[in-house]
């Protein structure tokens, strides 16, 4: 079996040059979907019977929640690949993913909290989902803090990869525990979206947004990884050529 393609994947330079062509397309696709989906959700999806128009926050809250969770898994998997196959690129992806994931998780908490005000009447509610995402933000913070603490980059990469993997195993455990904890302490269950009115017309813009957000995440992860590649590989000839503009056809 020819594993050459796999090891080529490990080359930062190959990744950088390959993604040169992808970025503009991803940019157009992601922002196109996000704008179409956003306007659709804001203006054209039907009103909800219980929550009227505040439910429209769902169109940004839910997709961001999905990708902030996925981001953690991508981060951990990249770390695992780096640890197992000792490749450089996965560690760069992992490093790039961490702040993206943290930012998105904070957005989930902020939008969840703001949505909570008209729905529950309070700015913060210790419900299972918000609490789980709060803990997820702690996991991200731990990884970023650990990365910053080491002076040797290799050690920083490997240590945070291990921590990311430990966190991955814990996420389902944490989620289940918090879920159980919540049902234990809540006399009545509060639901975010009234189940009585799941109008299919509401779901279409949600799908658009979910896809749009995943494309966006891919775009942003690639962009951040590219910058990380340049930083780490600054001493190599190909980056030096890139900077000085010697390489033809490749715009810095």
């Amino acid at each position: 079996m020819n594993w050459q393609w796999f090891h080529r994947l490990g080359s930062p330079r190959w990744f950088y040059e390959k993604t040169d062509a992808w970025v503009p397309w991803l940019m157009v696709l992601a922002w196109g979907l996000l704008l179409v989906g956003g306007i659709w959700g804001l203006g054209f999806a039907p009103e909800d019977a219980k929550q009227h128009n505040s439910y429209r926050i769902l169109y940004i809250h839910a997709p961001v929640a999905f990708i902030s969770m996925s981001c953690y898994y991508i981060m951990a998997i990249s770390g695992a690949i780096g640890l197992i196959w000792k490749m450089k690129l996965p560690y760069m992806v992992m490093k790039a993913a961490a702040p993206i994931g943290l930012g998105l998780t904070i957005v989930v908490l902020a939008t969840g909290s703001i949505w909570g005000k008209p729905t529950w009447g309070t700015w913060w509610e210790w419900d299972a989902r918000l609490t789980s995402y709060l803990i997820l933000s702690f996991l991200y913070l731990g990884i970023i803090a650990l990365q910053q603490a080491f002076q040797n980059r290799d050690t920083a990469d490997k240590a945070s990869a291990i921590l990311a993997l430990v966190g991955t195993v814990n996420i389902p455990i944490i989620y289940k525990s918090v879920d159980w904890w919540y049902t234990l302490h809540q006399p009545a269950t509060l639901k975010l979206v009234g189940k009585s009115t799941i109008n299919p017309a509401m779901l279409y813009p949600l799908f658009v947004m979910i896809i749009g957000f995943y494309v966006f995440f891919t775009l942003v992860l690639i962009l951040h990884t590219r910058t990380e590649i340049l930083r780490r590989e600054s001493r190599t000839q190909w980056v030096k050529d890139l900077v000085s503009g010697k390489k033809e056809g490749v715009q810095p």
Partner: protein
């Protein structure tokens, strides 16, 4: 598929929850823009910095 609001005013008002909805959308789209633009800006800065450094190196090599 029709526009769900009777007027622009109603659209902004969002049945009384306007401030919540629009604040959320504002936060999210601002973050999205930030996440898109910041790596590009950082890359530009990096290249500028490296170019300067390269020029310094070249100047040092010329007696």
């Amino acid at each position: 598929m029709k526009f769900q609001f009777d007027s622009l005013d109603a659209f902004i008002h969002m049945s009384g929850h306007g401030i919540y909805v629009w604040t959320c959308y504002f936060i999210v789209y601002s973050i999205l823009i930030f996440l898109t633009v910041s790596p590009l800006l950082q890359k530009k800065m990096f290249i500028k910095q490296q170019k300067k450094w390269q020029q310094l190196q070249q100047n040092n090599q010329q007696p």
